[in-house]
Symmetry: C2
Subunit: 337 residues, 2 copies
């Protein structure tokens, strides 16, 4: 093969928002697979808030940080173009931690096949991928919503939040989404069937929660942290469950994370706050994917991907997650097929 692989390698640990100069954009020739390896041509790369954390020097995280001069870590889907691994044939579509690049080598570990006849490939990075599994297990296993309860989700128009809210509706809950901007809020109510959407950019979130959750908040699925988490804590129902999934409002901080000042509300409400780590549920992925596949097929679950073309746009496109410019699951399109 004499094909060129373009790659984004981490040049330095970003301070605050990611800049193009935090990466080196490299090109190198694609080599043949070694024994046991496959070469994957990457088609779509998932851009996830968690990637921001992987860029930091943090010894206490669930994964080692991306090393300086290493290809930036990312989930992607692609097509096997060369294989010396008996489990994967040329032409197979696969999903895994393939990195921000055009071609990836893999020994097959952590690589799973996806069937492009079931859904467009970007959906396997969103609703039928890591964000969807996070939503499914985080909400159902940790949030434990019961029909008639009030479920609030932040980052509600994002890849995880939109699935959380829709599953909560399927389970018979009253669902309040918090998102930024009138367009996203309209989308949540008119397209996804949320009961209420609160626009944190133009509304007083605390006042809106008190208005729209008169019986209190039974389940809160938190993707954002910061002031919105504190607002929710003022309106917990008795025995509320808070699912801590992420804190995108805090990931670009150059100062310490803002902890929830109102956390003592956990005492008054007898409430719990628990973290969710999607990897724990990968052994049960089929259970979630079959349920969500069914809901997708029947139209009960809708999915939206924001596909941006061009590997070379990576640092700027990634930043859309933090400004909230993306509409739906943010995906980088690298190649047609």
């Amino acid at each position: 093969m004499s094909v060129i692989n373009h790659q984004f390698k981490l040049a330095t640990r970003p301070v605050g928002a990611v800049k193009r100069s935090d990466f080196n954009y490299i090109q190198e020739a694609v080599r043949d697979p070694a024994e046991g390896e496959v070469v994957v041509k990457i088609l779509y790369i998932s851009l996830d808030p968690a990637m921001r954390g992987w860029m930091n020097e943090n010894k206490n995280s669930y994964m080692p940080p991306v090393g300086i001069d290493e290809v930036m870590r990312a989930i992607a889907v692609g097509r096997v173009v060369a294989s010396k691994n008996p489990n994967f044939a040329v032409g197979d579509h696969v999903n895994g931690l393939l990195g921000v690049q055009e071609y990836a080598y893999s020994n097959g570990q952590g690589l799973s096949k996806v069937d492009p006849r079931l859904a467009p490939l970007p959906v396997f990075l969103g609703t039928l991928g890591m964000p969807g599994l996070t939503a499914y297990f985080g909400l159902l296993e940790i949030g434990q919503p019961k029909a008639g309860e009030t479920v609030v989700v932040s980052g509600a128009a994002g890849a995880v939040g939109a699935v959380v809210g829709q599953i909560a509706k399927i389970k018979g809950c009253r669902v309040v989404g918090i998102a930024g901007g009138a367009d996203k809020c309209r989308y949540l109510v008119e397209e996804l069937g949320f009961d209420v959407a609160i626009d944190y950019k133009s509304e007083d979130v605390t006042a809106a929660l008190h208005k729209h959750c008169p019986k209190g908040i039974d389940v809160y699925f938190d993707n954002v942290g910061g002031d919105i988490l504190d607002a929710v804590l003022t309106k917990l129902a008795r025995d509320a469950r808070i699912v801590i999934c992420g804190a995108i409002s805090q990931y670009n901080n150059t100062t310490p994370v803002k902890g929830p000042a109102n956390y003592l509300a956990l005492i008054v409400a007898r409430a719990s706050m628990k973290g969710v780590m999607v990897g724990d549920y990968y052994p049960r992925a089929m259970e979630a994917l079959s349920a969500m596949g069914g809901w997708l097929a029947s139209g009960k679950l809708k999915t939206r991907e924001d596909v941006v073309e061009g590997l070379e746009t990576f640092p700027d496109t990634f930043q859309k997650l933090f400004t909230g410019e993306n509409n739906g699951k943010l995906v980088l399109k690298v190649a047609e097929a």
Copy 2:
């Protein structure tokens, strides 16, 4: 009756630490009980950190605030000196929310009899009272410690913390207490059998926790909040349980509560943080009291009360809870018998 009742009534909502001028010290004649009432002569008054919260104008709490010009709310034990209630006879010893005063009227609601032959009366305000029940149910029901696990408790020499640590030892756990000062730390290890005590006034708590909890912290029982909670969050074991009981470091704040900046560790550790409200467990009080009574009798559970004489010292004595000057359960002695 022509007896005088001295009372502390809330004069104004304290800002920061409680001052004597936040109260009016009143005297009035004790009247006869109305139909259905008893008159209780108060012998010992419990001084608890929660009382600081009751002085604030907080609509979201589990109890209404003490009103301006109302007798300051407090748990106390006393002796019935007059009764027009068939459930209580003159001479009965009783425990309830009787207030910071010498005599209280009660219709019997929330009043329970105690047997002074079982333990000295101040013990019914500590280990065999609300603090002991908080420790018992908070640790066992929410913390769910298993033999061999590492349990950390803050405010460890206090009325709740000392019981938490001792029950954790009885359950076969490794127990690390955090307290202020060498004397308290020595008491925890030498008298109460804690494995380790960390003196937060002279040690780096984070470093000490990392040293003394090499396998991580499985259960943390938090009475203090603030920086110590943040330190614990850096060393959680997988699936750790944090019991939020209180945050004495924050109760006198004139600025907002310091939320736990490291709360995203809940994700990495798949940990939970849950509040405990002792009142929920009052229907099961007998279960706890019989267990703790047995441990007291057999010497497995030790109890220490810091008894200060004189109702009139109330505002200054109360402040000892926040400076950490008390040694054991802080109790105000009002009368001999």
